[in-house]
Point group: C2
Chain length 210, copies 2
């Protein structure tokens, strides 16, 4: 029943939804594809194609019904209830992410933070208590969580990731600069800041005269 939706389209509809929610707050009820496109610096054709792929139809005269579209996207993504994740590694970066997501409004909540440093146990950071690694299993048993954020040192990443997979995690956003070797059914998003920076610097380099 569920046709395959391209990766890139998934990414974009997530962003469309955020955008739509914002437009909705401005009191509007409909948008045109080119408006949505402008918000995200994309072509209107792309927006239309994406919506086509998730099976949504607008009306020619008024464009897309915002409320309906949000609902369709949410249904497609299957995340009505908001998103609960765990965070592993409460260093600088871990704290930054905690405070970012748990600062209130967001639909994503970090419900548990794990760190190996016993000094941190029991501390509550941005409303999230820090627990020792041993408690991971229990935490995951108590609530259905299939996604983890990994912000541990590079040296520990592979081992921790394997542990996560063993405990039932199926998606990992990995900030450690290491390519994880995990079974193919695990989805890993690699955030490699170093590569991003080097690439950006390359793109930004003073152009050699042609």
């Amino acid at each position: 029943m569920k046709d395959k939706i391209p990766n890139k389209t998934i990414e974009r509809i997530i962003q469309y939804r955020r955008c739509l929610e914002q437009i909705q707050k401005e009191g509007r009820s409909h948008v045109f594809s080119h408006e949505l496109a402008a918000h995200q610096r994309r072509s209107s054709a792309q927006v239309r194609r994406d919506l086509m792929l998730i099976g949504y139809s607008g009306s020619t005269s008024k464009g897309y019904n915002i409320a309906n579209l949000i609902q369709t996207i949410t249904h497609t993504l299957n995340d009505q209830e908001g998103l609960r994740v765990v965070l592993i590694g409460v260093g600088h970066l871990g704290k930054a992410i905690l405070s970012y997501f748990n600062a209130g409004r967001a639909k994503i909540k970090v419900v548990a933070a794990i760190d190996a440093d016993s000094q941190k146990f029991g501390r509550v950071i941005s409303g999230c208590p820090v627990s020792p690694p041993e408690q991971l299993e229990q935490i995951l048993l108590k609530q259905t969580i299939s996604t983890a954020i990994l912000t541990v040192p590079a040296a520990a990443a592979q081992e921790v990731a394997e542990r996560l997979v063993h405990e039932g995690i199926r998606g990992i956003v990995n900030f450690a600069p290491v390519k994880l070797k995990l079974p193919p059914f695990i989805h890993v998003e690699q955030v490699d800041i170093t590569t991003l920076l080097e690439k950006t610097a390359f793109m930004a380099r003073p152009k050699t005269i042609t």
Copy 2:
């Protein structure tokens, strides 16, 4: 003289280089394409194609000469001297990035940090002094820096980015959850953690039975 190298290839050769440096430390002088590929979970054909694109040739019997290849990549990327960047916004995330890059070994150094909060002026974080926004121009004059990391609140991002461009920055790694509207010759890498997480959660969702 400089043929266009595909975006994706740039990203990968940056990673090949890191990988090569590591292999080199293990005392080896040559690698085969399939070895390099294995490190990064890629196909050997891809590695060979990438190296072809940057105009490097190995020897059939021993593979690629590591030292030469590193040099060729570095020459292609044109970043012999290491990479100097500025960071705008010294919040949690900014601090995390500072400590990550300025902790020693990395080739990338954050040489200046800017924050609007006067309480932070003069403080030195991970060896990098925090300066007020007014000093940005001088800092950029003193040394050639064309890349910036943007870790300011979403509300400020667009304005700050425009300022950066005005001061000569040509590449921005943007962590603020806002699509920046900048001239087309500016390269922006958007790091949208929220989207990444939502996407990962979608990919990791319990599969609906087919």
